[in-house]
Amino acid sequence: MTVRLFARLRELAGAGELVLEVAAPATVADVWAALAAAHPAVAPYERTMSCAVNEEYARLTTGVRAGDDVAFLPPVSGGAGASDA
């Protein structure tokens, strides 16, 4: 399973892309659990992150298979300013 991390999550895990072994059948939640076990610093993001599977937004309950591309995204801040644009 390829796991992509961005922004602060990328920094906390020390890599923007990593490979995790997750036993099948698995969901995105299982992938997150494996990530948090390997990199406990990401754990505080469990309640605020979003996830994507194969470049589409997904849910923690979304099923994943070997070879899938799973991404975890911290809260976003695009546009012209986070709160006061």
Binding site: R8, R10, S50, A52, P74, V76, G78, G79, A82, S83
Partner: protein
């Protein structure tokens, strides 16, 4: 070169090509009578700190899909409006454009509304992250938990757009 309706790019943003793109008349729809352009600029301050520059990071394929979704949502609300959005990535200096939104419509109300809707939705669902650098440090800015299916967030953006 063809200018795309949406882009997430490291290239310097230009307003005129987007304005031309949306305000060109096309068959099968009413011609434009109004054009709005919105340009987000890098501010020199944030929460009392002096900002020196920014870096925008994006999950580009998903960010482009999210922008396409925003165009589709806006088209459903304002069928006669045409919208184009480009978002910058990488290092930006103070005063540089981070996002450009061009909107054209037969009457100005729809162009203003579609443009406002777009910027509100960008801040909600487009996977782009702002890393701020200031005198003595740096910080990631974190706004909304991105969830395109969050109807309450969408309704809030719509309410702002409709004033």
């Amino acid at each position: 070169m063809t200018v795309p309706m949406i882009a997430v790019t490291g290239a310097v943003l230009e307003v005129a090509p987007l304005a031309a793109l949306v305000s060109t008349a096309s068959s099968g729809r009413p011609g434009p009578g109004a054009l709005t352009t919105f340009v987000g600029l890098v501010r020199d301050h944030h929460q009392g700190r002096e900002v020196t520059h920014l870096e925008y990071e994006a999950y580009v394929p998903l960010a482009e899909k999210a922008l396409a979704r925003i165009l589709a949502e806006a088209a459903a609300e304002w069928p006669d409006a045409r919208l184009a959005i480009h978002h910058r990535t990488g290092r930006l200096g103070i005063g540089e454009a981070s996002v450009v939104i061009a909107a054209a419509s037969p009457h100005r109300a729809d162009a203003y509304a579609a443009s406002r809707y777009a910027i509100e939705r960008i801040k909600q669902i487009v996977p782009v992250w702002k890393h701020e650098y200031f005198a003595g440090g740096d910080a990631w800015v974190e706004g909304a938990t991105a969830d395109p299916d969050d109807e309450a967030a969408r309704a809030a953006a719509l309410a702002i757009a409709r004033g």
